[in-house]
Structures are given as C-alpha cells and as structure tokens.
C-alpha cells in the first residue's frame, strides 16, 4: 500500500483558518501541474461513554476514543484510543455492534472533504475539515501519498524532499500559516514499517486532536 503523510494547516498565532487559504493551497497544487482525479471524504467521529449513573466516573473511560472511515477502505472502520496507543481495524459492521452495545455514543463528527490530484508518482489530497452537517470550516488537511513504495523508512527521504519543496511553493503565497506534519510513533501502536490504512487512521487521529479544542471553543471564522 502506498505510503502517506497527513498534514494539517497550522495558522499563525492570532489568525484563523479560512476558505481563502484553502483556495490558495488548491491553486498551488494546480500550479505544479497536479491533475484532478476526483473527490474524497473521510469521517472522524469522537465518542464518549454512555454512563448509567454518576457522570463523574467519566474519567475512568477513555476521553480520546475515535472512529475513522477512510475512502480507500469503504468496508472498513478504524477505532482508535490515542491515549493507550490502540488502533483497531474492523469490518464496517463494527459500527452496528457498537450501536447495539450502547456503551459509547457519538459526541461529534468531523468530515474531511477534499479533492484528489495526481502528480507523477505522488498523489495529493487537499481539503477542508468541517463538522458533520455543517459547512463551518475547522481546518485544512492534506494527504501526500507516494505511490511506488510501501516502506516508511525507504520513502522517508523522498517524502521529506517533496514536503520541503511543497512548503516552499506554499510559502511564496505569503499565507498566515504553514502545513505541519507530526509523524506518530507507529511502533507504539504495534504497526510495522510496511504502510497500511491503520497508519493513515493513526495519522488522522493525531492530526485532529488540536481541532477538537477549536470545535469546543467556537471562534470567529471567515469563510
């Protein structure tokens, strides 16, 4: 499976993300001859425990339990507890199992809706992060996929070089922020060097962590 890096837009201090930045970033991809290949959508759902009695017991249960659906694996669903470094790949019927158990419920959901571009051996996906059933922009995410090789270590150099070039292209637009990439420690999740969709799910879980705060604390958004 092709290796992938998930990047998120980090606005400069005192600024916020807006749709103009997304437009500028999309133009950057097109300026380097990225060919549009289609649309995609990933969904990240945050769950909280359904407690029968004392809500103060909430601390006993994981606060960072996420579920992720990825467009490249439509029949799979990924459950992640970041604090304990657990990622589970399951058939999507796990959603029905969890629903019947009624032990956890959806707190909120974010959609990553973007456009896919082909660029030689690379595939780029650029898009917005919006709450489910809302158009309110919460963030900008980007996937950079290197198609020929599945080994994280073997692609590290070519990926870093590409990201350096990409950041340079974006910096010429003088936008108030930059793309950040936090590479999780996959070994902590029991994942190997061979890239899988579980790696992608872990990256998403890592990327969206800062976005939870912005959702809980509404801020002025310029769309």
């Amino acid at each position: 499976m092709p290796i992938k890096r998930v990047l998120h837009w980090q606005p400069n201090a005192g600024t916020s993300v807006n749709s103009q930045i997304l437009n500028e970033v999309s133009q950057c991809v097109e300026s380097i001859n990225g060919v549009k290949k289609g649309r995609l959508k990933a969904t990240i759902t945050f769950y909280k425990p359904n407690l029968r009695a004392d809500q103060t017991l909430q601390a006993e249960f994981p606060r960072d339990f996420l579920g992720i659906s990825l467009p490249e694996q439509p029949n799979k669903y990924y459950l992640i507890i970041r604090g304990q470094r657990i990622v589970l790949e399951a058939d999507s019927s796990i959603l029905v199992v969890m629903e019947k158990l009624q032990s956890y419920k959806s707190k909120m959901a974010l959609n990553f809706e973007g456009i896919q571009y082909q660029l030689g051996d690379f595939q780029l996906k650029v898009g917005k992060v919006v709450p489910h059933n809302s158009e309110s922009l919460r963030g900008i995410l980007m996937e950079v996929e290197y198609l020929p090789i599945s080994s994280i270590e073997k692609t590290r150099q070519v990926m870093e070089e590409f990201l350096d070039i990409w950041r340079e292209i974006v910096s010429k637009k003088s936008l108030a922020g930059q793309f950040m990439n936090i590479e999780p420690n996959y070994a902590e999740y029991g994942l190997s060097d061979q890239y899988t969709s579980q790696h992608t799910a872990v990256q998403y879980a890592t990327m969206v962590a800062p976005l939870i705060a912005t959702v809980h604390q509404p801020q002025p958004i310029r769309n």
Partner: protein, 285 residues
C-alpha cells in the same frame, strides 16, 4: 498443524490489565430490527426494543448491512456417535468438513458503562495459520406468537472481523472478562435452501486464564451441535423452514431445538450410528 497461540501477545505493552471475573448475569438485549413480515407483524417483537435509541449513537457513517439476524437450533450428541454424525453430514452436505478450534471470550460492560448492561463475544479462530479475530454480538430474541410457531430461534446477530488487538481495545473501553471457552470440533458450511452452518464441538473450559493448551471438557462425552443460518427481517421465515427441513435428516442421531430447551440425547442414536457406520457414509439426498 498446531498453531502456537499465546493470547498475551495480543495484550502487549504498554497495556496492563488485571483479570476480573464478574458473576452477575445481567440481561442484555438491544435489538432494533424492524419486522416487516406481515404474518408476524402484529404478534412478534424483539425483547426490549427501543427504537429511539437506534439512530442516536453510531450514526455518522453509512453501513450497508446485508443481514443481521440468524436462525439457530442446538442439540447434543454423545461423543461416541460423532463420527457417525460426521458421515451423515458429509453425505447430506456434499462438502468437506472444516476443523474448528475457536477461543471464545465473553466480555460484559463494567457496572456503570452503557445505558443498559451489554455483552460482546470475541472469537479467535485458532485453525488459521495466523489466528484471526471476530467480534460477535448476539442480541434480542424474537418473541411473540408468530415466533413461537417457528421451530427455530430467531435472533439478531452481528459479526465484524477485526484486527488482533480487539481484546485490548474492549478492556480499554471498560469491558470486563465474564467467561471464556474453547470450542473444538468441526463444521460444515453449505447451501440447502439457505446458507446453513453446522458446528459439532466439545466445549472446553480453561483452568487458568487464557490457557487454551490446558482446556478441559465441560461435559465429557457430550458434544454440542449447533445449526445456524444467517437471515434478514425479510427472509427469516424461509430460512427457518430450510433449517427445520435439514434438521429432520439428523433426527435419528440427535434432536435439535431452540437454545435453552434441552431435549437430551435421542434413544435411537446408537442404532442409527451403527447403521451409518456399517453403510460407510455413502448416503446422499
């Protein structure tokens, strides 16, 4: 080939857990299947249906669910007649048996977790070269006059194949070990009016936590026969008929009935088994 299996590898660090056995037998049923069969519409229902809850939880992802019900009957047979049963099944099904070796771990929700107490089973198939895991939820049993008329039990059942760290995840979510068992035997999977699965197995308990290598039979000399068939709210009548018809062929060796209604071994089993063994299993229908 014997699979070397140590469940501890699925509970790898940094996770630590202490095993807790909870004895309370809380009821759990959380079924939300709509019965669209007009014949049973007014008289059958699933226990503790709460339709309001149905759309409130894991709602943000579309799931295509082909069928989340099953028809099931069970029976018991003396181990000495299992070989004859295998010959009979081989003749009836026309397929080869598959070996069965499943570590079944039953978890229950912790005391405060969930709007109702819940139970989930984690099945580890030890016959595979790399043990594979499935989450299984058995939900509400269909009740009512219409359901009473059926000779099989109809219940909701959902399975999901999962990666190997599922036990660790459920412990982290607040589920506790209730009990575990090891099923060893064989199974036939075939189509006869419906997809039918027949599992013949001895149920073994572990003397030490997760020690599948040291499991001992719960009922020595007796094996469980379980016939299941996947169904939907539209098809369960036809599936129930197919299962009932098939079970009639097994009647000389064992009686199959709804789970929980024990009918014991059948008196004709010894004679039927002797006959089957002498025939050499050439029976086909």
């Amino acid at each position: 080939m014997e699979t070397r299996y140590h469940i501890e590898q699925y509970l790898s660090p940094p996770f630590e857990f202490t095993s807790e056995l909870e004895g309370e037998g809380n009821d759990y049923t959380t079924s939300t299947v709509t019965n669209r069969n007009p014949q049973l519409h007014s008289s059958s229902r699933f226990s503790q249906v709460d339709r309001k809850r149905h759309h409130s939880l894991f709602v943000n992802c579309a799931v295509v669910l082909r069928g989340d019900m099953e028809c099931v009957v069970q029976g018991i047979i003396e181990t000495q007649h299992v070989e004859a049963l295998e010959i009979l099944l081989q003749g009836l099904c026309g397929v080869h048996r598959e070996r069965l070796r499943i570590h079944e771990i039953c978890l229950k929700s912790g005391p405060n977790l969930g709007t109702v107490a819940s139970e989930v089973r984690l099945l580890c198939d030890l016959e595979q070269a790399e043990p594979s895991w499935t989450v299984k939820h058995i939900g509400g049993t269909m009740r009512g006059a219409g359901a009473e008329q059926l000779s099989v039990l109809v219940r909701t059942m959902v399975e999901s194949k999962v990666s190997k760290n599922v036990l660790r995840l459920f412990y982290a979510l607040g589920y506790k070990l209730d009990h575990e068992q090891l099923r060893v035997g064989f199974a036939f999977h075939f189509h006869r009016g419906a997809q039918i699965n027949v599992a013949v197995s001895s149920i073994n308990k572990m003397l030490k936590l997760h020690a599948t290598d040291e499991a001992v039979p719960v009922t020595p000399g007796i094996q469980l026969v379980e016939v299941t068939a996947p169904a939907t709210s539209e098809t369960y009548n036809e599936v129930a008929s197919a299962v009932s018809s098939f079970c009639e062929y097994l009647a000389p060796l064992l009686h199959l009935s709804k789970p929980g209604i024990s009918t014991g071994v059948v008196p004709t089993a010894a004679a039927a088994a002797a006959s089957l063994m002498s025939d050499g299993g050439g029976m086909t229908i």
